[in-house]
Point group: C2
C-alpha cells in the first residue's frame, strides 16, 4: 500500500514525526513542546499534501485513531496531543527520546 510505504519512509528517516495540520492548535502545542526541549522533528502537514487524506486513513488503521496530531518517536506511535503533554509533564517524553538516541 503506497500510503503505508510513505509513512514507513517518514518514520525510518526521522526520530520524531508529527502528523499534523497547519491550522490546528493541538498540533501547534505538540510542535512547541519539541521545540522547547530542543528536539528536531519532522512535521507532516496533512492539509497541505495531496495524499493527506490517504495518509490520515492509513494512520487510522496503524494507530486506531483518525485524529491529528499523531506523534511517533523512534518509529513507535506515542499518541496525540494529550499523550505528549502528559509524557512531557511526567518526564517520560525525554526517556522515550533517549530510547533511540545514537550518541
Amino acid at each position: 500500500a503506497k500510503d503505508k510505504e510513505t509513512i514507513d519512509k517518514l518514520l525510518n528517516g526521522n526520530k520524531v514525526v508529527v502528523f499534523s495540520k497547519t491550522y490546528c492548535s493541538y498540533c501547534k502545542e505538540v510542535k512547541k513542546i519539541f521545540a522547547d526541549i530542543g528536539e528536531n522533528f519532522e512535521a507532516v502537514e496533512l492539509d497541505k499534501r495531496k495524499d493527506g487524506k490517504d495518509i490520515q486513513s492509513a494512520l487510522a488503521i496503524m494507530t486506531k485513531g483518525a485524529t491529528v496530531p499523531r506523534v511517533f518517536i523512534c518509529g513507535k506511535f506515542v499518541g496525540g496531543s494529550s499523550d505528549v503533554k502528559d509524557h512531557y509533564k511526567s518526564g517520560k517524553l525525554v526517556s522515550l527520546l533517549e530510547g533511540c538516541s545514537s550518541e
Copy 2:
C-alpha cells in the same frame, strides 16, 4: 452585508454564541466549559455551513481575528479558547454571563 446580518441575528437571539468547527479540539474545550457550568450556548459550525467561510471573514473584520473558536456573551466578543479558559479560571466568565441575565 448578508454575513454581518447573519451574525447579528445569531448574537441577538442567543446569550452565548460559539463560532466553531466540528473537528476542532479547541472549540470542543470551550463547549465543554459552558456545558460544565450548565450554560446553554449556540454552536455555529462554520465547517458545516455553506456560508461558513464568509461568516469567518465577517467575524475577522468584527473581532480582528480569523480563528475559531470565537465566543460572544450577551452580544459582546469575549475571545477565543485561551480567553474563555482564563476567564473560567478567574471567575470572570460567570460574571460576564450574569451581565445580561434577565432573571
